[in-house]
Each structure stands twice: as C-alpha cells, then as structure tokens.
Point group: C2
C-alpha cells in the first residue's frame, strides 16, 4: 500500500516528487482516447526509473513464444502491446548540460491529472549546476480528434545567463521492455522534416502495421532576441530546435501538435499526407480551441456516466479514477478493438482481450454507453469465431466446436501456460453469458439471430466434447480444468466451470428452439446434437458437501487444511510474492471468486441462505490477489447486508491502483477490474438488477457516505439515481414512462420526472 497522492474528488495530484514511485505515478497519470494513449512520462530525458510508453489501439507484435518446456498446442507467438513513437520528446541543454530531473535538485514539484478534463499537467522548479528554472507542461490526447494529441510546454529561466538549446522531436527509437528476444519490433520505413513539420514512418515486423507519427512545433520567446531555429534529423527521430542566449526571467514556450496515422485506423491512404493534414488542422484550430473541444468531449462523458459520492473523498476519487480510465481505454466505435488489461498504461500481459471483457466490462458499457458499444464488444467475438474453431481444432476438437482464446489480439490464442491456455476454459462460459446479459438488458433479439446463435452453438459444441462420462459417478464430469481461482491448477470438476458449462448448453438449446420456432436459425444443428446437449445438462456432476451444504470449488477441496486468511501472517502476503507455487496450489487460499463467481452470475438460481452459506465459507479463504476479486465480493457482501465487508472491498477495488495494493501499479493499471468497481457501486450498493426487462434496486448506501448518485442508460432511457441512507430517488430523463422496483416497491416514473422511495 502506498499513500503519497493527494486525495481530491477530481484530480490525481502528486505535490512533491516521489522519485521512487515515478513508474507508479506514470501509470496513474496515463492518458488515452480509445485510439492512442501514453503513460505519464516526463517530456524531457530522464535517467531514473521510468517505463516509456506510447501505444496505438489494435497495433501489436506477434512475439515468438519463449517457454522453458514446449507443450503440444502452444501458440507460436504472443501478441505484445507495442510501444510506439514518443511524440512528447523534448531535450533541453543549458550550455552543454543536459536537463535530467533525476540528476537535478527538485525545488518544487506538482504533477496533476485532471480527470474531469483529461489533462495532465506538471510544474517543476529545479536547479542543475548554476541553473535554476521552471517547467510548466500540459498535454492531452484529444478526446474528439482521436488521432491527435497536444502539448503546451513552457520553460522559465529563474536564474541563469547563457546559451540554451531546446529540441522537440518525435522519436521512434522505442523498444518494448516486455520482449521475448530483445528485438526491435519496428522496421524503419521513411522520415522527413521541414520547417513546418516532421514525421517518422515505421512499420512493425511480421504484422506490417504501418504507422506515421508526425509533429508540428511552434516556439515563442518572451522577448525578441536572436534565436536560431533549425531542424533536427537523427535516426528515427526528427523535430526542431532553437538555440539562444537567455537570462533570468526569460521564458520559452512550445506548442506541439502531434498526429498519429496508421493503416489500421486510417485505411489504405497516404499516411504521411493524412498525418500532415491532421497537423495543419490542429494548428489552424490552435491549442486553446483544441483544448476546449477536448474538455467538452470529456464533460459529455462525465455528464452521461459520472458517479458522485458525497462525504468520502477517497471513495469519490477512486470511482472517478476507474471511470476515467475505462473511458480512456475503450470508446466502443470499432468492433476490432477491445479492452486490454493495461489499456494504454503499460505493455505487460499483452493481448487486448481476456474473459474480463465479458464478465466484468460489458455491464459497465451496457449501462453507461449507447447500446452499439456493448454490441460491438459482442460482435468482436463473433468476428473471431472461425479462429476460435481453429483453436479448438488444434486441441483436438471438431464439428465446429469453438474455444475462445485465453488472451488474444486478433482472435488467435497467444497465451502459453498449459494450465491456463488449455484448461481455463470457463472463459467460453463468460462469452456466452455476455450474450445473455446483453439480450437481457437491451432486448435486442435480432442480435441472437444474426450473430449470437453462431457463437452459442460453437461454445455448446465445445462443452459437449469437453465433458467426459464418469462410469464411477454415472455423471458427466469436466476433468483437468483451471477455474477462475488460478491458485488451483488442473483440477477435476471445478464447480463454477461445470455450472457454466451446463448453463451454456441449456441456454443454447433454449435460444435455438426460440429461433427455430420462427425458422430464424441459420446454423445447422443436428437433432442428435441437441439431444446430447440436453443429456449432458441433465446429468452434469457438481461436487457438494452434505455436511456443510455447500458446493465444493472442485473435487477434493475439503482434503485441504482449511484456515481463514485472517490467521495468515501479513508479511507473507500477497502469497504470490512470498510462497512457492506448489505451496499456494495445495493451500486452501483462493485468488479470486470461483464458486462465488457462479453465485454472482446465477444469483436467481440460489436462495439468500445458500449465498450466505457459500460466502461465509469461501470469502474468509480468499486473498483477493486478482484485481477482479474485491469488486465481486463487495457486490455479494452488499446484497447480504455485510456493510463493513462491502465497504472495505469497495475501497480495495476502487483504489487498487491508486494505493498500489498489489505492488504492481508500476507496470500499468488494472483496467478491466475498474469496470468491476463501477459494478460495486451500481449493482452492489445500488443493488441494481435487470430481470425480465425490468429494472430494480436494493440500495445499501455505505454509512460512510452522505449520498451517492449515478446514471444509468437503460433501453434508450436515462435514469439518474440519488441515494442516501434514508431515501432513494430516481430522475427519469427519457421519453417513455418506466416502472422501477426499489426494495420490492414498484413505482411508475413518468418521463422527465422524479420518484422517491423512503428506505430508512
């Protein structure tokens, strides 16, 4: 846990320089607009701890797999998130002394990310040798014009007389720290610089993604002295510089426009021309106007989906931090894109899509964006169906069985740990569940007919081949799987996997018949197949302990020595940083919700008593060392009236990165769990549910909060919820009347009106 940032409802503020945490702050201060993004690196050269990162959505590198021991079925490459051109690059020389804040004495420091406006700014005063000076910088990735980014950079000479040189470039000399063979992933194509602008054009090896990164520099000096402007042209790096004599009180300001064009996003056009044009438009608009438009775009986003928490700044800052980064990562216009685990904040893990998207992120976009956004997330998987079928074939399945990859960028599997890649197959379940979830929220049955059924059938075929018949148990079993709790590997009959496998078969049969009755089914399913699916779903095995009346996480779970986490010494946590892997595996400790993940998805199939029994058994054994864990447990705790637990876990999920709970924020943020944080407020404290096309709430506003307000988009209606410990209020700004249930009390809310429930 770290606690060096100022708590503020809208801002992330570092008010003195924490060198030792610089990589963490860089992660927290990342910027993005769904298309391009970057870590909060200093613009200047910095020799200290830093992870340089500039990224472009969808652009990856297939890094050849490197494993200790090859297993049949491993993919040949891992799609790495690519570090791309650094457009912020600035170099300052006072005489021959290069500015390096790692070497300088910091006199004053303030770094601030304004989440309301999506602007990162910094003011730093420093001394280096005899020089005292101050930098003020402000930058953003434009939220409206997504291929452009802007920087305003001002250097004030506090004490110094002498020559100065400032270079502002775009630098394509970048490498991934996360690389299997220490290769440069980019091939140089061409570059050019003239008085007006400069660009470097590279393309990725193997995948041949073409990227042109261009900049336009405008320097202003506070007085009319003689300054020499000239071009900079180095290897994979171009820009402009000024040389001049300065004295105390002088200021030099730079406005820098950047444009990133790529074949992936801009099509088969001349990327350099396009890049130049974008820069000219941005320049014509001017920095302040561009900034104003950018801020307006962000204000609209906040208008649509802010969550306001009164009386608890840490909680308020946490939730906004989560919402902010979600909107920076994925904006939903492009169905080829998805929500990478680190977004634009780091290169670790690679790939852009995990089961997190369906299980954790979809609900956020379903309720805060236009329906197309959530739909695009589903279409993404439909686009990859043939590759999921090919993936399953590689593992010996046939007849159109589909196994979606554990990690992917383009539909092909790119993860390589056998116990996860081949065995963490429950991901297929979440992908089917997301279809159900989407239909349940939107009623968009047409989606099922056009796309959904294909995916469901592929997944059902997979499960029907993946189960095996146990003569011993006279039941179908699922052997050799890894459940959501990755602190167990290669187990038999993981309850959650068995449960969601059965559910997939049942739901597919149900959807198939619904479409079939209207002759709307395009996919060809044999009667025998349907029969097989039905037989499996009627004879699936579930491990159960009669004595405790609980479902077991997997066969043999009760052979473990069961001791709650509360008895574990603090200094051996997180376990994954202290215990050897085998010790973790044979312990009873749970990384993240597993049985409870099933209770969360399928809550209506269990009584509250059952939920309580399972929560009380499993949660005390859970170390929450997955970022996806605290949010889900907070929701369940909330629905069980365990207010303190729910609040504790809310803070943990919402401030996971801000407080660096897991000691890994320096590598980037945990983007997907941020959607879980959002769910904690809406589904947890709000108790929001959609059943049979109707919305309901069971509010339990934390006693630490004066009030909490959030907005929900539901079937073209916009609801604004405001709750405290005594009242629950919904303002409806849609066009149609709507019926809402709060604590089982139904009320009709007329269009553009407010209803209040007394919940004291």
């Amino acid at each position: 846990m770290k606690d060096y940032l100022v708590k503020h409802p809208w801002k992330i503020i570092e008010d003195s320089f924490h060198k030792e945490y610089n990589r963490i702050t860089e992660s927290l201060c990342s910027l993005g607009n769904g298309m391009i993004g970057q870590r909060g690196n200093f613009e200047e050269y910095y020799s200290g701890e830093t992870l340089q990162g500039n990224y472009i959505a969808g652009i990856y590198y297939p890094d050849k797999t490197r494993v200790g021991w090859w297993k049949n079925g491993y993919p040949e490459y891992f799609a790495k998130v690519l570090n791309s051109a650094d457009w912020t690059n600035i170099d300052i020389y006072f005489g021959t002394t290069r500015l390096d804040l790692n070497e300088a004495t910091i006199l004053d420091f303030h770094r601030e990310l304004d989440m309301r406006s999506g602007i990162l700014s910094r003011k730093v005063s420093f001394q280096i040798g005899d020089v005292k000076a101050t930098i003020q910088s402000e930058r953003f990735c434009h939220y409206g014009n997504k291929d452009t980014a802007l920087l305003k950079y001002k250097l004030t000479i506090d004490e110094y007389e002498g020559p100065i040189n400032i270079q502002s470039c775009v630098d394509f000399n970048v490498r991934n720290q996360d690389s299997n063979y220490d290769e440069n992933f980019w091939d140089y194509h061409c570059q050019h610089v003239d008085d007006d602008w400069g660009h470097v054009f590279c393309k990725t090896k193997k995948t041949e993604f073409k990227v042109c990164a261009g900049i336009k520099n405008s320097f202003t000096i506070n007085k009319s002295v003689e300054a020499e402007y000239s071009k900079v042209e180095k290897e994979r790096k171009v820009g402009h510089q000024i040389d001049l004599q300065v004295s105390s009180g002088d200021t030099i300001q730079l406005i820098k426009h950047a444009a990133i064009t790529s074949e992936y996003h801009h099509g088969d056009v001349r990327l350099t021309d396009q890049c130049k044009q974008l820069l000219e438009v941005s320049d014509a608009l001017g920095y302040e106007k561009a900034k104003q438009l950018h801020i307006e775009a962000w204000h609209i986003k906040w208008e649509e989906g802010d969550i306001k928490i009164e009386g608890d700044v840490a909680a308020q800052q946490g939730i906004r931090f989560n919402i902010f980064h979600l909107h920076q990562t994925y904006t939903g216009e492009d169905s080829r894109l998805n929500i990478g685990p680190k977004g634009f904040t780091g290169e670790k893990y690679g790939g852009s899509t995990y089961w997190d998207t369906e299980a954790y992120c979809l609900p956020f976009y379903l309720s805060t964006s236009k329906p197309e956004v959530a739909r695009n997330l589903l279409v993404y998987r439909h686009n990859h169906l043939q590759k999921a079928i090919a993936n399953a074939e590689k593992l010996g399945f046939d007849n159109g069985a589909a196994l979606y990859p554990m990690v992917t960028m383009n539909g092909e599997e790119c993860h390589n740990e056998w116990e996860i890649t081949f065995e963490e197959i429950h991901r297929n379940g979440a992908i089917a569940y997301a279809i159900y979830d989407y239909i349940n929220h939107t009623g968009d049955e047409a989606y099922l007919e056009e796309y959904g059924i294909d995916v469901l059938v592929g997944i059902a075929r997979f499960w029907s081949q993946r189960v095996s018949w146990s003569e011993q148990k006279k039941k179908y079993v699922l052997l050799g799987v890894t459940g959501p709790n990755e602190y167990e590997n290669n187990v038999n009959n993981n309850w959650y996997t068995n449960y969601i496998a059965r559910w997939c078969l049942q739901y597919t049969i149900q959807v198939y018949h619904r479409l079939d009755s209207d002759t709307r089914v395009k996919v060809d399913v044999q009667k025998e197949e349907l029969e097989k699916w039905r037989h499996i779903s009627q004879h699936m095995y579930f491990p159960f302990d009669e004595e405790r009346q609980i479902y077991l996480q997997q066969d043999g779970f009760l052979d473990k020595e069961i001791e709650p986490v509360s008895l574990l010494a603090k200094d051996i946590q997180p376990l994954n940083q202290h215990w050897s892997w085998d010790r973790i595996l044979r312990s009873c400790y749970i990384k993240q919700a597993d049985v409870l993940q099933g209770f969360y998805f399928f809550e209506d199939e269990f009584s509250e008593d059952e939920l309580r029994r399972h929560f009380d058994f499993y949660e005390p054994l859970t170390v929450h060392e997955s970022s996806l864990s605290p949010c889900l447990h907070a929701i369940l705790a909330s629905s069980l009236g365990k207010e303190d637990k729910a609040y504790e876990l809310y803070l943990r999920t919402s401030r996971l990165d801000l407080d660096d709970y897991n000691n890994d924020t320096e590598d980037g943020l945990h983007i997907t769990s941020m959607a879980g944080t959002w769910m904690t407020v809406t589904k947890g404290f709000g108790g929001m549910r959609v059943r049979n096309g109707k919305m309901s709430f069971k509010p339990t506003c934390p006693k630490q909060w004066n009030s909490c307000a959030f907005k929900i988009a539901f079937k073209d209606q916009n609801l604004e919820v405001n709750m405290n410990n005594t009242h629950f209020e919904i303002t409806h700004s849609g066009r149609q009347d709507i019926e809402v249930e709060v604590n089982s009390v139904k009320k009709k809310i007329e269009a553009n009106s407010t209803q209040i429930w007394d919940i004291a």
Copy 2:
C-alpha cells in the same frame, strides 16, 4: 521405428550412408570413457544434418533460466551439459574444393561401432568433382587413460592428380544448440601451437571450469614427395597441415593424439603442461599399443558383465548396446559424477542426475561393478544434502527437511516446470530406497551410520512437513503432486508417492532405532519428531477402489474414460507428439509405471494376485512413452508369466535407441533406461532377487532364445548364470560357498564350482 542398421551381436553397422538419419547414427556411435566422450560425428567438415558434440564429465554451464511465466521457487539457472573442444577436427581441400560428404557422391560407405573394443571406424569412398578418394578412419576415447583419445585417419587417392591440403586441428569454436540465450558458454584463455603439438585453453563463463584441449599430429605419405608441413593457427583453433601434390594411388595417413585436461579432473596444476605430457606419453606408446591397452580394458569390462543371448541377434545386439553405453557413461571412480540422461551422446535435458540414477541405474552398478561404484552413487547424494536442505527451505520447509532436486549437476535444482520441479517429489523416495537397496545387497551397515542416516532423516523431515491432515478423510494426504507418470500433473494422493513417503518414514524410524540402540546415531532427532513420523505412517491415506480391489493411481482416477491403448489409433502415437497437453492429462493413458513402480519396489508387500490385478488394470493403459517404462513392465510381466508381453517389452527397451522408437534418438541416447534393460534380463527373465542377504532366481528364459548367460557380482562373489528353457546353471568363481535358491529350490554352491537346476 527405424530399421537401417545391420543386426550383429557385437557391432553397430551402417553399411550405406543414411544421410537422413545421420544425427541418429551419430548418437548411436557415440564414444566415451566416463571422463570424456563424443558423438559419432565425421572428422571432416559436414554441411548436412549433424549435432557436433564433445563432452567432459562434470563440466557444465549454468544457463540463465528462461521461462514463459515465472513461478516463485524456480531456480535461476539450468545446468547445461557443455559442448566442448572438437579434437577430431579435419579439413581436406582438393585444390580449392573443400571436402564435404554432404555435397559429394558417396560411392561406398561403411560406419561401424565395435562395442567389444570401444572403437568407431568408418570407410567411405566418394567422388567430388573429378576427385575420387577413400577415407578410412578409426578412433577411440581411451578406456584406460581416460584423458586421452586417438584417431587413425587414412586418405587414399583413387583418381585425382593435383594439390591437396589436409588440416588437423583442435577446434574450440563450439556452441550448445541447447542454449537459452544463444550465448557462447566458453571464454577464450590462451592457445599455442608449435611443430610438436597444439592446444586451446578455454574456461566456461560463470562456473570458470578451465579446460585445455591439446593434440599431436603425425602425417605419413606413401612416397617421398615434397610436402609442406606447417602450423595452423586460427581463432580458438590450432593444429597442423600438409600441402602436397598427389596422384592416383597415393595415401596420406594421420595419427592424431588428443588429451583433454581440466582443473575439475586434474586439479590445480598447469593444465597445458599436463596436457603436453599426456600427449608425449601417448605418442611414445604409439597408436597400436595404445589401442591394444584400450581394447584390453574393454575386454575386462565385458568379462565382468557381458550378457550372452544365443539364437536372437536383435536381442543380443540390444543388450550389449545398453551395457556398452552404460560403461561408457559412468565408471564409478569419482563420487562427484553421476549418470547423465544422455551421457556423452547429446546435450539435451541438461543436468547429470535424475531419480533414474537411484531407481534404475543403481542395481546395474550394484551387480556388475565393485561395491565402491554403487557406494559412490550414494555418497554423491550425501554430498548434496546441504543443498537439498536449502532447496527445501526455498520452498518453505524447515528444520533440516531435504528435497533433492529433480535435475542437478552440483546439488542445486536446475529444472523449471512447476508441476515437476516442485511436485514430482517422489524422487526423494527413490533416493531413500537406493540406500535400502544398497544395504540389502552389500550389508554395508557402516554406510548407514556414516552417511545414510543423515540423508534418511532429511527426507523423513521433508515428508512429515509435506503431508497435510485431511479432516474429511481423517488421514494424512499428499496434495498437489506429480507421480512417476508425468501424464498426470498436480494430482492429489498419488498412490505411489503416498506409499513411498510412508515407507521412507518407516524405514528411517527403523534405521534410527537400529543405530540408536548402539548409540551410533550422530544426527539429532527429537522424540516428538519420531512420534510424528510414526503417526503419519500409521495414518497415511491410499486411494483404493473396492469394486476392482485396486489401488488408484490418484484420487479421481476412475472418473476418467477408461479405454485400453490397444484401441487407440496408431497414427496418434506417441501421444506426446500428437495430442495437446490437456488432452493427454485428462486421458487415462499412462506414460510410465506409477502404481506398478510401487509394486516393483515393494513386491514383497503384495501378493501375486494383487500384482496381477494391478498389472492387468494399468499396463493396458500404459503407452510407455517414457524410456523408463518398458523395462519395468517387462520385469513384472516376466514375474507374472506373461512371456509374450515380457519379450515384446524387452525388445522395446533394449532397442529403444537402436530402432528409434520414440523419434528422438537424434538428440542423444537414453542412458538411464539402459540400466533398466539390464534389469529386464537379470531381474525379469532371470527372476533374480536379494532377500535377507540371500540371492534367488525365478527364471523364465524367453522361448525365442536358445540360452542366456549373465554375470553377477554379489558380496565379493562372482556368479555366472546360464539359463535356457530347461536348465538353470550357476558357476561360482568366488572364494566362499554360497547358497542360492532357484524356483524355491535351495542349493549350496561351493567355491569355484557349478550347480544346475532342472527347471523344465
């Protein structure tokens, strides 16, 4: 399966060049003398498929671990078997044309390894351009003077007139193909060449093993023509060359002496001086005399431990091939050395010690060598005890618990697959069992007192901490292990592991009390510890199926779909080359004996009925894709009177590499399973056992054989066994009378006499 070699009782013969199998033949024709060894590479440059390999026992490189996903507890490096200087190196130029048999037309070819003499020879006639010529070569790693090796090489010009250049060097420009970072593992130290000799001196990076490789060349030409002799000095490569004009019928002969000195084997002396001295001695002796001594040393080995099979050349060739390579790999003088999985025949797998040594190799050396050899194998583990304790500490164990490494060179673990490194802990059991086995054969109780008890106590402490108490079962369980059958990973209660764990505790308690009663115990064991060990051994859980009355390989084994291997399509075997890893894991197919490994070790604790039941259940599910599997099953099949099965498996184990059963002989031979082959004959067909210090036999000579004869060293006595289907004969050449039981009929054999049993 391959079948391109001539079947011969004493030789491996390739009588026409099989380019496509060159790497296989290189493996099969490897030479070694326990200290140095090499693959059967051509002396000349060869551009085709080849794996250049020269090795020195004990000299390794700690290659930095490279894994896809790091797990806590992984070792930082993997000890790689090092490719070392190539002393055979010869280069021939006809004018400007370099001889390369891959490019030449082969007119006649004969490669032959004479196992009786340990000599590799080759005769090849070829045409390259206008040149026709013949090479005859013969070489050996001296079995008496283990640091020297010799080559006789003769080139006959069949058709050619013109200049010729022949260079004979020692070449230290070698790399490992098996390297994690494509590094050169050797640093250059110095080199020198003069008219008499030349050497290159390198040392390994990190480990700083110093090696000096020297050669001495003597050329002879058939006629007195003018020839220019000169030195060759290149980077890490020195030697001599001759240039002369030749015409058809001319012959040039080279005698090359090589000496390899190393600090590891020769101590802190001037290695270059030592090397030069060895070469001078070898040269003074002369090639033919050196060869004669070498052959005599081999004849003694064969005299001591040959197995003669009459009437079955394939079987005869197979067993001698196995015995030959065992004696090439390990000679037992140096307790720092062990039996590497590939010996001197390849670089794959790395490390020099696996559990194979104790479980498979020890019995061979126990019965064919002086007792010191087997004792040295045990002392080797005692030497590593502190490192085994450190290894266990790394995984969270304490109080002197020892976990021996899965793979090692110097006592430190160097394997990194969590499911094996951390979980295949049964290796600890085999190490304890080997102590029992050694004492049982030799009666050397002093060993227990001086060394054995320390190792046993460390191992007992490990097991007592590794078990956990299952409240559910009210028994001790072993969770998260991998048994000998590596086609199951991370299972609970692997029967074999549980069984040998209990046995270790029982045996340690027993030995402790035996020594304690004579106050011979040096190691400090608390009374509570002994109580705990006893409690565990009395309450260990064993998975059992009541219906079938069989022990289950692990919990849940019967949930699998059980179908015999005989129903599997041939074209998907070996499974490990066709099925994805998860499919293998969840199948019922067994890589190698697991439950049956336990029945083999502890046969006296089970009835023949029990053995039959378990063999009939498990063997049909076994794919024998471990080289260690067929031998053990052959022994059990033999003891059950399953003659056909035993013979089939004998051929598979004895000809595993000769016929390339597993498609991997090209990487090197399976040295450790060769000891298993030897056991198949003696313990299997001979039915040899030692019980209570007495030797007994239950012979079942395969009907395909006219007779079979083998020699056994037992308690300073030498027995020669000769058996066929009707008679069993033992000739006793020792000094004391001995009592032997054959098929339960006891007879006394007087010193230097023969006894015959009628077994028709």
